[in-house]
């Protein structure tokens, strides 16, 4: 192995890091199905998969429909206990042959690799995304990072094929410093990409919260030193193992805030369903709290409260809308209300990407919009902040409206139109807030479902693929 160039922390960083301790966590993870098959899981876990379910899954082992190769099966004890009481959680975490019935889909649907200047970094917007861990405490079957977690080989821009690597502190810091230096020297814009300064980094994976406090602290310190103003941590650990957010973790955060008071932290949490954080009575119903609202799982609520207490930390929830898990307006209404009540913002809901095997999980775009819209009826303005987004190659796009009003002369127009609005576009955001209008297609799960019915394409979501609006075609 070539000698690695080490990152050298500053004095402030060293002083901060010297205060950090790692907690002890026993997640009691079960990985793989072998233990379920041979019956060596703990007594109470036996029967989590029925004999028939296991037979059907194991039959696919080693074939191109191998479920464990698509996405390793993994669950914590905490999540298992919630799954026992929830059909939605079971669908989320239990492997099922329907995942590989149809292997249609793209290995890198957001074309992320074309925005990766160094290993483990995606720099697409003013926000950079780094992969710092390649696993999570448990695994969602619908995972949209499955290529990283299952360590799949993917094709890079330059044609080489390799598994996605993780970010290294030194590489990322060097990149940020160099990028921002060029931007500053060129009066605020990068000379080649026209991007602004990199001000925000999202730590992602996998789940950064599987890392120890010291490891997380090294990232927080180094990114702050490099001039990053806002750090986001994308995590589902509040659902999988809320005890991870213990005293040692919050002590680390407080020491970090003391050392770097100007850096803002945003926890991007990932709850898909209220069953992941609400307590239930023996009949499986949520429990009304005497002081209003519903009773939470104590450990989850305690962790959320600890975050909410710290004014310099924001907590936002984002979740895809997934078939069989949360394609349910009532569940989403309860989730949005309870999260907001406890200090968690409802940020985005999004449409599943067309990753390999997506068909088992994707909800059509128009249906997802309808479900979210229904769920927000009866919510107050602040509770109903979340929008439905879908990630176009050009950037994050909102499914702004689905209408029922007749729009004659267009395929699908007899049912109305769908309006997409580009929320953010890559590089220097030239097309922000532009819209595209298409005729409806109730079955569409991706933009491609609208190729033959584009009415107006100001946002150029389709024209960038040489797909013209119908009016342009008619005029030819």
């Amino acid at each position: 192995m070539a000698p690695k160039e080490k990152y050298i922390p500053s004095e402030t960083e060293k002083a901060f890091l010297s205060t950090v301790t790692n907690g002890k966590y026993d997640r009691e993870i079960i990985t793989g199905l072998k233990k379920f098959v041979d019956g060596s899981v703990p007594q109470d876990m036996q029967g989590f998969y029925s004999k028939e379910e296991l037979d059907a899954i194991m039959e696919l082992d080693g074939t191109d429909k191998d479920l464990q190769a698509r996405m390793p099966v993994k669950i914590t004890r905490h999540y298992f206990e919630q799954a026992l009481k929830s059909k939605a959680i079971q669908t989320l975490v239990k492997a099922s042959p329907k995942e590989t019935y149809d292997l249609d889909g793209a290995e890198d649907p957001g074309k992320q690799m074309s925005y990766s200047p160094v290993e483990g970094l995606i720099h697409k917007y003013e926000l950079g995304l780094i992969y710092v861990a390649s696993t999570c405490s448990a695994h969602c079957r619908f995972c949209y990072r499955e290529e990283l977690i299952a360590k799949k080989e993917i094709t890079r821009e330059d044609g080489t094929v390799a598994a996605k690597g993780l970010a290294k502190i030194k590489d990322i810091v060097d990149y940020v410093l160099e990028h921002n230096r060029l931007v500053d020297e060129n009066s605020g814009r990068h000379p080649e990409t026209n991007r602004e300064r990199l001000r925000e980094i999202l730590m992602s994976g996998g789940d950064p919260m599987v890392l120890g406090n010291k490891n997380i602290a090294q990232w927080l310190g180094a990114l702050s030193e490099a001039g990053i103003e806002s750090i986001r941590i994308g995590t589902k650990e509040l659902a999988f193992y809320p005890e991870r957010f213990d005293e040692t973790f919050f002590a680390m955060l407080d020491a970090f805030h003391e050392a770097y008071p100007q850096t803002n932290l945003r926890m991007m949490v990932h709850f898909n369903h209220p069953d992941e954080f609400l307590a239930k009575d023996p009949d499986g119903n949520y429990i009304e709290h005497a002081q209003g609202g519903l009773e939470w799982i104590p450990a989850t609520r305690a962790s959320v409260k600890e975050f909410a207490r710290r004014s310099w930390i924001n907590i936002d929830n984002q979740s895809p809308i997934i078939a069989g898990i949360n394609d349910d307006s009532d569940a989403l209404r309860i989730m949005q209300r309870e999260l907001k009540r406890n200090g968690v913002e409802n940020h985005y809901f999004f449409c599943g990407r067309d990753i390999v095997g997506h068909k088992a999980f994707n909800v059509p775009i128009e249906k997802a919009w309808h479900i979210l819209n229904e769920s927000q009826k009866g919510l107050s303005g602040v509770e109903a902040h979340a929008r439905l987004s879908i990630t176009h190659y050009k950037g994050k796009t909102e499914v702004a409206a689905v209408t029922n009003t007749l729009f004659p002369g267009v395929k699908g127009g007899e049912n109305g139109v769908v309006i997409f609005k580009l929320l953010r576009s890559a590089a220097d955001a030239p097309d922000r807030c532009k819209v595209t209008i298409v005729g409806r297609n109730e079955e569409a799960i991706w933009f491609s479902g609208y190729d033959d019915r584009v009415i107006m394409d100001e946002a150029e979501l389709f024209s960038m693929y040489d797909i013209q609006p119908l009016t342009a075609i008619a005029a030819e």
């Binding site: 997640r27 993870i29 390649s134």
Partner: protein, 112 residues
């Protein structure tokens, strides 16, 4: 499930595994390292970096190494945690691949 350190680490103790483990779940004795089965998050990162090929996924343990699971569990309770990479033991290369190393395992708890 967990990952398990097996006999070929004994007397080697190259600590490349410690360097990559994201959760620092390795524990160190005088001439052997073990993984804490509850703390390991099954990321698989340590397997490829171990120069002695001593680390196995619990499910892939060969029949004759199965007892190392219990040994890892037992020793992780009593040995101190190791978080930084160290130099291998002086005779590491010589011991690499030597059969029947288990009898050389020193289970004592280091002082201090």
């Amino acid at each position: 499930m967990t990952y398990v350190v097996t006999d070929n680490c004994i007397q080697c103790k190259y600590t490349d595994c410690v360097e990559v483990c994201p959760v620092e779940c390795f524990y160190e004795g005088p001439n052997f390292l073990v993984i804490h089965p509850g703390e390991c998050i099954d990321c698989d990162d340590c397997v490829d970096v171990c120069p002695a090929n001593a680390i196995f996924n619990e499910d892939d343990l060969p029949e004759d190494k199965k007892h190392f699971l219990a040994l890892n569990e037992e020793l992780a309770q009593i040995w101190p945690q190791i978080t930084d990479q160290k130099d291998p033991l002086p005779d590491a290369a010589k011991w690499d691949g030597v059969a029947g190393k288990l009898e050389h395992l020193d289970k004592s708890v280091p002082e201090g």
